[in-house]
């Protein structure tokens, strides 16, 4: 009986279905887009390349010893002398590895993609906080961006932008942006309703309430989003290395191919130390926002 039902299902229900077409649709869309919007993609390609190259050149312009001191100074300014010393030591170790140049390349890739991701994320987060409909549409799209395995969108991105550093940056932006949007929305929604009402009661326009009340009060949460964006961007470097992104990612994927434990460990160590630098500095900045400082006073 069950055998019969199974046969019946496969013969009459499932067989008449054509081959599942979603993948083919995506492929033809990408191929079409590559030709139709070629100028647009070229412009994005050269724009990102320009930003990356110049930032990396800038970071490599000074000798590594001076840069180590500069990083320590940034950490000091962001949080305090303890962090300054710690970061100084960490970056000294990085400069000691053979991969200082690659580390600076990775850093500029992370900075370019994180900057673009957060610039896109904040307006989207504002829109999501202001409009329930937009939020309902944005949520599944963000889930999709975050959960779709990175390799999957690397394929079309490489097809559109060819191999190099730019597809790595684009893939990183897609992967790293969602927490920026989510935390901006969360921060704005968490703003005390009575304070917003006070703005309205004194006759402030919606734009003014956003600029003078909601955004300042949401800033600590938005900064936490920036921190997340940067950390996720850094976690993409290895994958970006696979498509010729250069930097530490290339070293790591290369050492994987050659089973070179020493090179892999050195590059990995540089990634970890870079992550600590970026995390602590952005956290320090988030503690420096006026609202976070006022909250500290209350304790």
């Amino acid at each position: 009986m069950i055998e019969y039902l199974r046969n019946w299902f496969w013969t009459y229900i499932w067989k008449p279905l054509p081959d599942m077409p979603f993948g083919d649709w995506m492929e033809s869309f990408i191929r079409w887009a590559r030709d139709a919007w070629a100028t647009g993609f070229d412009a994005v390609d050269s724009g990102l390349e320009f930003l990356y190259v110049h930032l990396a050149d800038g970071l490599l312009w000074l000798p590594s010893g001076v840069m180590v001191l500069l990083f320590a100074a940034v950490a000091w300014a962001a949080k305090g002398w303890k962090l300054g010393v710690g970061i100084g030591l960490g970056m000294f170790v990085v400069a000691w590895t053979p991969y200082w140049e690659q580390t600076m390349q990775t850093l500029s890739m992370v900075l370019v993609s994180a900057a673009i991701a957060i610039l896109l994320a904040i307006p989207l987060g504002i829109a999501a906080a202001e409009s329930k409909a937009f939020s309902a549409v944005a949520r599944p799209v963000l889930d999709f961006m975050q959960t779709l395995p990175a390799f999957v969108y690397l394929i079309p991105v490489v097809m559109l932008f060819s191999v190099g550093v730019v597809p790595g940056i684009i893939a990183t932006i897609i992967f790293a942006m969602p927490p920026g949007v989510r935390l901006t929305e969360l921060g704005l929604r968490q703003v005390d309703r009575e304070v917003v009402e006070a703005g309205q009661a004194f006759g402030a326009s919606p734009a003014r309430i956003l600029a003078r009340i909601k955004l300042p009060l949401a800033l600590p949460t938005i900064m936490a989003g920036l921190n997340q964006v940067i950390m996720l961007a850094l976690s993409m470097v290895v994958i970006a290395g696979l498509v010729g992104g250069g930097g530490l990612g290339s070293v790591i994927s290369g050492s994987l191919g050659r089973l070179d434990i020493a090179a892999g460990f050195n590059a990995g160590l540089a990634v970890v130390l870079l992550a600590i630098l970026l995390d602590r500095v952005t956290q320090g900045l988030s503690d420096r926002t006026p609202v976070a400082r006022a909250a500290k006073l209350a304790r």
Binding site: D192, A201, F202, I213, P216, A298
Partner: protein
């Protein structure tokens, strides 16, 4: 022209609000509306406030008082009825005009202060002026004056987190005063404060009011507070149950609902000599010690005990109105409106 006038004002929340209003108008009680999930917050309010008056709206939570105050400055739109501020009907204004009206005519004080935590006291106070578009020096100068007015001089550069609750609410009050509007809306402004601080704030409000003469709408759930500061009090439970002076409400509660409220009011602070006196009769009153008619009862104990004769209550022209004896005071204070209310209605039915 009244400062604020509302006319057959209704606010119902939820789907089917309009038909719910129609039902309410035809006399259906608010808990028997046919549409489910509608909440009738404000039902058939008709009253007006004169300039310079302190009008207290008193009710329990869920009585629609917060909704009412937010309708007065247009943060919530009425379901039906009209609100006039200085003769201008709110419903006829565009969003832009409404914002302008709020900037220039109405300011508000909030229950939980609603201060910006990252701004100093003086910057918070200047907020309304900033929205009005004053230059920085001018708004900070006027903010400093307002800070001084509420007695916070010396705390200008502190952050709200460094202030106590009472001081925070003074900042809220200063912010509203600095905006220099005719109308002041106070939404449970003192409810979050400790009892002692609350009394201090009430005194300060009355003191400021005697200098500034604003039109104040004050919302509270505390009848003692209402009686202390209100020129007139509206007791609300969706609809207005009774509107009158503190004495009206205490001595002549309109129904059982109001009477229950008045049960735990400190009557000695609200009632005056005039309210507890008895007729002079045929006695010769010329030798009796005199008291003014508006002296509260708790200030009569001392003179009435130290004098053998009753006290003679006189009006502004020193004409005798009646006499106060220990017996008359006890009689008035022991009056229990909740218990006597049934008979009060029967008395009213008899032809006068």
């Amino acid at each position: 022209m009244s400062a604020i006038a509302v006319d057959s004002l209704y606010k119902v929340f939820g789907k089917g609000a309009r038909s719910a209003v129609a039902q309410l108008k035809s006399g259906t009680p608010r808990d028997q509306l046919s549409a489910k999930n509608v909440t009738a917050a404000v039902i058939d309010h008709n009253w007006s406030i004169e300039a310079g008056e302190i009008f207290v709206v008193m009710g329990l939570s869920g009585s629609g008082k917060s909704t009412l105050i937010r309708m007065l400055n247009g943060l919530i739109k009425p379901t039906s009825g009209t609100i006039r501020i200085g003769g201008v009907e709110l419903g006829s204004l565009s969003k832009r005009e409404l914002r302008r009206l709020r900037r220039e005519k109405i300011s508000m004080v909030f229950q939980h202060f609603a201060l910006l935590p990252h701004r100093t006291v003086v910057e918070n106070v200047a907020f309304g002026l900033e929205i009005k578009g004053l230059s920085k020096t001018e708004r900070l100068e006027r903010a400093r004056e307002a800070v001084e007015l509420v007695g916070l001089a010396g705390h200008e550069d502190k952050l709200p987190a460094q202030l106590s609750g009472g001081m925070k609410q003074r900042v809220g009050l200063a912010r509203a005063l600095a905006a220099d509007t005719e109308i002041l809306l106070m939404d449970e402004a003192f409810s979050a404060l400790d009892p002692l601080i609350r009394q201090e704030m009430q005194d300060q409000l009355l003191d400021l009011q005697s200098k500034l003469g604003k039109t104040i709408v004050f919302i509270t759930h505390d009848l003692n507070e209402a009686m202390r500061i209100g020129d007139r009090i509206a007791i609300c439970d969706g609809e207005v149950k009774q509107l009158g002076t503190a004495e009206d409400i205490l001595m002549r509660p309109a129904d059982e609902y109001v009477a229950e409220f008045t049960a735990d009011v400190d009557r000695t602070r609200v009632l005056t000599a005039e309210a507890v006196m008895e007729p002079c009769g045929t006695r010769d009153t010329s030798a009796f010690p005199k008291v003014e008619s508006d002296v509260p009862v708790n200030e009569l104990y001392e003179p009435v005990l130290s004098s053998k004769a009753p006290l003679l209550v006189v009006d502004d022209n020193a004409d005798p109105l009646g006499v106060v004896t220990p017996r008359s005071i006890i009689k008035s204070l022991s009056y229990d409106p909740a218990a006597e209310h049934g008979t009060a209605i029967e008395e009213e039915r008899q032809p006068a």
